[in-house]
């Protein structure tokens, strides 16, 4: 139990991932599927950010170690740790995963946009956004009915 509490963020990652996937696979409404997909993609963000956090680390913005803030931060740390690792007194969290996730968020938003655009066209063409109704309509009318060039 304490293991779970210690790693609560990873628990959240798993819950979001599985929840999102479940919504994608089980819901019949296409918009809900997109929502599920978005939730699923959020879990990766949380995952990366969890990786980024260094215990005792502060936001990865350069701080002058000799300044007041720098020394205040240094005071909170274990001196032996600082000495052993030769740090200049400030520990930063890893900024790289944040950058990666920014990129992934952009990708996610673009995907969402394209998906919703397709959903709009689907609504125009089929009149419904329910997957099974669309499938039924396709079975009924085997001949293609397009808007035509």
């Amino acid at each position: 139990m304490s293991f779970l509490l210690d790693h609560l963020n990873y628990v959240a990652v798993v819950v979001l991932m599985m929840g999102g996937l479940f919504i994608v696979f089980s819901s019949g409404n296409l918009i809900k599927r997109m929502v599920g997909l978005a939730i699923f993609q959020t879990s990766t963000g949380l995952f990366y950010i969890s990786l980024a956090k260094v215990s005792g680390g502060t936001a990865p913005i350069m701080i002058n170690a000799a300044s007041k803030e720098g020394q205040a931060l240094a005071a909170e740390l274990d001196l032996a740790y600082v000495a052993a690792h030769g740090l200049d007194g400030v520990v930063y969290s890893n900024p790289l995963p944040h950058v990666l996730i920014l990129t992934a968020i952009v990708v996610g938003v673009s995907t969402l946009a394209v998906g919703l655009a397709i959903a709009v066209r689907l609504r125009e063409a089929y009149g419904t956004l329910e997957a099974d109704e669309i499938a039924a309509l396709d079975r009924e009318t085997p001949k293609s009915t397009g808007a035509g060039p």
Partner: protein, 507 residues
């Protein structure tokens, strides 16, 4: 081996930056095409950008021929901190393949778009096409794992939109595109989660660097989890059985240009990434990777080859039949790769090349002929062989390559696959290839019989010969299939070098 130096003559500056210009060219072309004043301009920009990319691919290949590996640090930031393009023979071969197909597809697009997509969308369509191209070329050139994800998604998002544009002809393109989007995004997200695990374990994103650091880490749970996620994610993108459900509908209802382009390049880029991770990043000799190759990749490839060929046999719609055939052929390629010997991987890569060439030709021929017909099923295409002899002759040549008839490239790749399997004592693979070849004969035979030997129903719309703009790229593809069928030294050399690069790039 052709000496690539003689094929290009580019100023030194251009050669120095060729790896990134390979991607940047189509990217900028996409912007230009989006702003093009009319359809004709968009087409010309598309062709020009594709030819430029092909030229750059040749330059890069020449450099690889000279130096073995080309490293290019983006922005001057050296790896492992910066993002680097790392182009060895495998990347060069894939780059050449993708850009060559893109040039032919761009040439074909002039006619295809006029017939299938609304005029006002042509500029954006060509922009999307060039974006896809840029993304795919980036996937095969990059040496950074996360960068691969980015380029993969650049290409994929473009393809989702482009597949959906087939709705002008057939509204079933829309659910197909939506389904493709869902599954593709899940695949890409799995991939990025896997990369995250690898990053957590090794602290770096540069593929060569990860490989070095994984040598000591192969038991780590995080690495295993990462491996699993990466493989499943890329398997979704590569349409590995059973994750292939999106492919048949997407290829069947997309505009014919997209069917041509995707069947020849999109899954191939994902297979490239899969191979890259399996053999370069992870050590194929290590316990779990080897287990995966033997117990997952090979059986799934075999099942794909047989089950999807069976599905193709019973499929009435012609383009869906070709799509199922594509999944089966991907199974062949994965079978070849799973025989982790030099011969097996080389055979798999050769078959990758052969399949790109023949599938592109098949879809192009169908697209060229089906313009006037709202043709879907075999019955709709009946007698097209007599009405459009030149187009269908090229189709027949590509179909012969698909069947694996002698004097075509497809026969030689099948020869190499069986040879590799026998050399590695994998007799069951030979049986699988034989069985699926038989099935391929059946469904291709059905296609050819309908096209050439059946008379069309009276009053049915008749096919017409495709215009020159379609015949030229089509016959180039068919001709190359025959040329390589008689003298396959070029693709064989490239495939061998690629396989060596994959195996030899172990640190």
């Amino acid at each position: 081996m052709i000496s690539f130096e003689t094929l290009y003559a580019a100023p030194l500056e251009l050669i120095k930056h060729a790896p990134v210009l390979l991607v940047a060219g189509p990217l900028m072309g996409a912007c230009a095409a989006a702003l093009a004043p009319n359809s004709r301009w968009a087409w010309m920009i598309s062709v020009a950008a594709s030819i430029f990319a092909a030229w750059m691919a040749l330059c890069v290949a020449g450099e690889v021929a000279r130096k073995g590996v080309v490293d290019y640090a983006i922005g001057g930031f050296a790896p492992p901190l910066g993002i680097a393009f790392r182009i060895d023979w495998l990347s060069a071969m894939m780059g050449l393949l993708i850009s060559f197909i893109s040039v032919l597809a761009a040439l074909y697009s002039g006619h295809a778009l006029r017939a299938e997509v609304r005029e006002e969308k042509h500029g954006l369509f060509q922009a999307g096409f060039l974006l896809c191209q840029a993304g795919l070329l980036g996937v095969v050139s990059t040496g950074d794992a996360f960068n691969a994800f980015v380029f993969l998604e650049v290409a994929s998002i473009g393809t989702y939109a482009l597949v959906a544009l087939g709705a002008d002809r057939d509204r079933r393109a829309l659910p197909a595109a939506f389904n493709y989007l869902i599954m593709g995004t899940i695949g890409a997200t799995f991939f990025v989660i896997g990369v995250g695990f690898l990053y957590a374990a090794t602290g770096t994103l540069n593929m060569a660097d990860i490989a070095t650091r994984l040598v000591t880490l192969s038991d780590s749970r995080a690495v295993l989890a990462g491996f699993a996620f990466i493989v499943v994610g890329l398997g979704l993108k590569a349409a590995m059985f059973p994750l292939h459900g999106w492919l048949p509908n997407a290829y069947a209802y997309a505009p014919s240009l997209i069917a041509v382009f995707l069947s020849a390049t999109a899954t191939k880029a994902a297979i490239y990434l899969l191979a890259r991770f399996l053999f370069t990043v992870f050590d194929p000799g290590s316990g779990f990777a080897h287990l995966f190759l033997v117990w997952v990749l090979a059986p799934l490839g075999a099942i794909a080859a047989i089950v999807c060929s069976l599905q193709a046999v019973f499929e009435p719609e012609l383009r869906r039949m070709l799509a199922f055939s594509s999944v089966a052929q991907v199974g062949y390629i994965l079978l070849g790769l799973s025989i982790a010997s030099l011969g097996g991987m080389s055979a798999g890569l050769m078959h990758l090349t052969a399949h790109s060439l023949m599938k592109a030709a098949l879809f192009m021929a169908l697209g060229g002929v089906a313009i006037l017909l709202r043709a879907r099923t075999l019955a709709d295409f009946a007698g097209a062989g007599r009405d459009a002899p030149w187009t269908m002759a090229a189709f027949a040549i590509a179909a012969a390559s698909l069947m694996g008839l002698p004097l075509t490239f497809g026969f030689l790749t099948k020869f190499r696959l069986i040879e590799a399997a026998l050399s590695a004592n994998q007799i069951w693979i030979v049986a699988v290839i034989a069985a699926s070849s038989l099935l391929a004969l059946i469904y291709v035979g059905r296609m050819l019989e309908a096209l050439f030997f059946r008379t069309p129903a009276p009053g049915a719309a008749r096919a017409a010969e495709a215009p020159l703009g379609v015949l030229v790229p089509l016959w180039i593809l068919a001709g190359v299939s025959v040329w390589f069928g008689v003298d396959a030294s070029l693709p064989e050399g490239l495939a061998n070098s690629g396989a060596l690069a994959l195996l030899g790039a172990r640190p």
